[in-house]
Amino acid sequence: MVDTAAWMRGLAGGLMIGLAALSLLLFNGRIAGVSGVLGGALTGSMAGDRAWRWLFLVGLVVGALVYTLVAGRPVITAVPTSLGWTLIAGLLVGVGTRMGNGCTSGHGVCGLARFSGRSLVGTATFMLFGFVTVFVTRHLLGGL
């Protein structure tokens, strides 16, 4: 389906995500990888290092709320998986992003911009496994 309006919203949103990641690095010297920020907020080793993480996470939610109010449309209209599969997926994402030290934002947006070899391999790996998983669930199993 050719939906150029959605592609342009994606590009504009991507530019904002990039500007956010750049601002955090330029001002605070931190990487805007959401799994790293959340993991540190939950288990944080350094006491004084946790406050900004929670503030960033609250900002994520507030930013989405502002979008809902400004654009007049919900950020999410459908969850395609059952509760059981949603919980399994959440566990896999939680364990995986901590073990692999990053997610789409940390490895994908920030890591690639630093020319990190680990992030390049990490991004290629989660993309590959994402493609294969969707192929299996949608085309071999006929949906979860």
Partner: protein, 136 residues
């Protein structure tokens, strides 16, 4: 000041994720579904973000230190180990099942949908389980 930056950056990130459509799992799964009706939107999002961060990170790091702190806190590891591959692989499987990665999952909490809360809670449990039990 650094606290204010953290909130504002989070808000911009959350707004951008919402505008981009990446808080909608079906759109993410549409990108991952190469054999179906492929939706390239996620590629535009990544491309847009990298258009800013690729030149921006290079310029920012040339300053030597961030504006509001004494030094950059960047990952230093360069080795490609098994945990990187297994971890990002597990993440990719979870991402492919639900269409959620951590940023959109947190931003989507704004919807108040119980299923989003369930995903976010399971993700947090997964992180704690890893850090407390599986971290060597």
């Amino acid at each position: 000041m650094r606290a204010l930056i953290a909130v504002l950056v989070g808000m911009l990130f959350g707004f951008g994720l919402s505008l981009s459509g990446m808080t909608e799992p079906l759109r993410v799964l549409g990108f991952l579904d190469l054999a179906g009706q492929w939706d390239p939107t996620l590629g535009f999002v990544m491309g847009g973000a990298l258009m800013v961060t690729l030149p921006g990170f290079w310029l920012a790091r040339r300053r030597g230190r961030p504006i509001l702190d004494s030094g950059f806190q960047l990952p230093t590891r360069r080795d490609l180990d098994r945990r990187l591959i297994i971890g990002t692989g597990l993440f990719g499987i979870g991402w492919g099942i639900a269409g959620f990665c951590p940023g959109p999952a947190i931003a989507s909490l704004s919807s108040g949908l119980p299923m989003v809360l369930a995903f976010a809670a399971a993700m947090a449990v997964g992180m704690l389980v890893h850090d407390r039990l599986l971290n060597r």
